[in-house]
């Protein structure tokens, strides 16, 4: 559908200058945090933290710098579409990679071998014999 006529005929900016500057400051603060976090050893959470911050930064850029918050639902839909389809691709590809070395449960069951991914075990104690 045709959206209502937007800014074209008005002569005022949609986002005030102060908001833009504040947004840039926020982005720099987030940059500082993400670099700082890299010097802490959080185990696997390093990646989680870094990606979370990247997502926040991207959201700030999209919503404020790219002014998507002033746009119509149709535009929101297409902004989301690109990312949603990327997510589909990553998910379905990883559906293969994350289960590839696994064997069908039937196989494990019948041959009496233990299931190889036992998350309840967690990280084995260093003293334990590493391999049998």
């Amino acid at each position: 559908m045709s959206a209502a006529p937007s800014t074209a005929s008005q002569h005022a900016a949609e986002t005030p200058r102060s908001t833009l500057v504040k947004n840039a400051v926020a982005l720099f603060v987030l940059l500082g945090i993400t670099v700082g976090a890299n010097f802490l050893d959080l185990g696997s959470f390093n990646v989680v933290v870094a990606l979370l911050i990247a997502l926040i930064k991207a959201a700030l850029i999209v919503l404020i710098f790219m002014e998507v918050r002033h746009r119509s639902p149709v535009l929101w839909m297409f902004v989301a579409a690109g990312f949603f389809w990327l997510l589909l691709m990553l998910m379905m590809t990883m559906a293969d990679y994350s289960t590839r070395s696994a064997l069908p449960p039937d196989w494990l069951h019948r041959t009496g071998r233990t299931n190889h991914v036992d998350f309840s075990v967690g990280r084995p104690a260093p003293a334990a014999p590493a391999s049998r």
Binding site: A12, I61, F65, L90
Partner: protein, 247 residues
């Protein structure tokens, strides 16, 4: 083809943007293209078109992100090792430069949007817009130079995949995989930055004489969308390439 289209039908039912036809279009200070009824429709179409293009860009980079994700999962340690070979300092500088350029870009759009439709105001703003765009382009060029240094360092450390590649230890192959993905991702991104720099330089030249103002600023805004998108890609590249392993 122009005048024949001027015969307009009015929409009895709704205030559809297409309804008023050229009657309103004539009232626009800036002429719109022939296929549209008015400037608002043209602006909306351009925005939607640009965002669709950006969606394709997301998936264009997405293929590489997919490869990255799969190998990152399979070769977890090799990728962490390889990531430690990259300089966080460089990466941080890269990010800072691009974030700053995004601000100058946003300010250029802001200036264009808020310029009143008078010859004096348009002339004055034109220069400001042009300078802000040039600053953005200069920062983009700075990013490219920084990356050039980085690539040179990688080359000297034998991180460039191919015959010259060397990495001690048995996981050399997987580290090389990381560096192939690294060079493809950053190379593709740098290519986008380069296109952006040229685009912004052209836009700066166009805007110098006050072509864009509150009533018509669409090209500036669309260029801005592109530039911010390039910035956003880097926002993801930085942690995924430089920060995946704690130092």
């Amino acid at each position: 083809m122009s005048d024949a289209t001027a015969i307009a039908a009015t929409d009895p039912a709704t205030g559809n943007a297409r309804a008023p036809g050229d009657a309103v279009a004539r009232a626009d200070a800036y002429p719109h293209e022939h296929q549209f009824d008015n400037l608002a429709q043209q602006t909306d179409a351009a925005r939607l078109g640009m965002w669709l293009f950006l969606a394709t860009e997301v998936l264009f980079f997405g293929g590489l992100f997919g490869a990255y994700t799969a190998y990152r999962y399979v070769y977890y340690h090799a990728f962490a090792e390889a990531s430690r070979e990259l300089s966080v300092l460089f990466g941080t500088l890269d990010t800072a430069v691009l974030l700053t350029s995004s601000l100058t870009m946003a300010l250029a759009v802001f200036t264009a949007q808020s310029t009143a439709d008078s010859p004096a105001a348009r002339r004055r703003s034109g220069r400001t817009i042009a300078l802000l765009l040039l600053a953005t382009a200069a920062l983009g060029a700075g990013f490219l130079v920084l990356h050039g240094f980085e690539y040179y360092e990688d080359y000297q450390e034998h991180h460039f995949p191919g015959r010259t590649f060397f990495f001690p230890g048995a996981e050399s192959g997987q580290v090389e995989l990381f560096f192939i993905i690294y060079f493809c991702l950053t190379g593709l991104h740098s290519l986008h930055v380069l296109i952006g720099v040229v685009l912004l330089a052209v836009m700066a030249a166009l805007s110098w004489k006050g072509r864009y103002y509150g009533g018509y600023h669409n090209p500036i805004e669309i260029s801005g969308l592109y530039w911010h998108f390039v910035d956003m890609v880097w926002v993801f590249l930085f942690p995924l390439l430089y920060l995946i392993a704690p130092r």
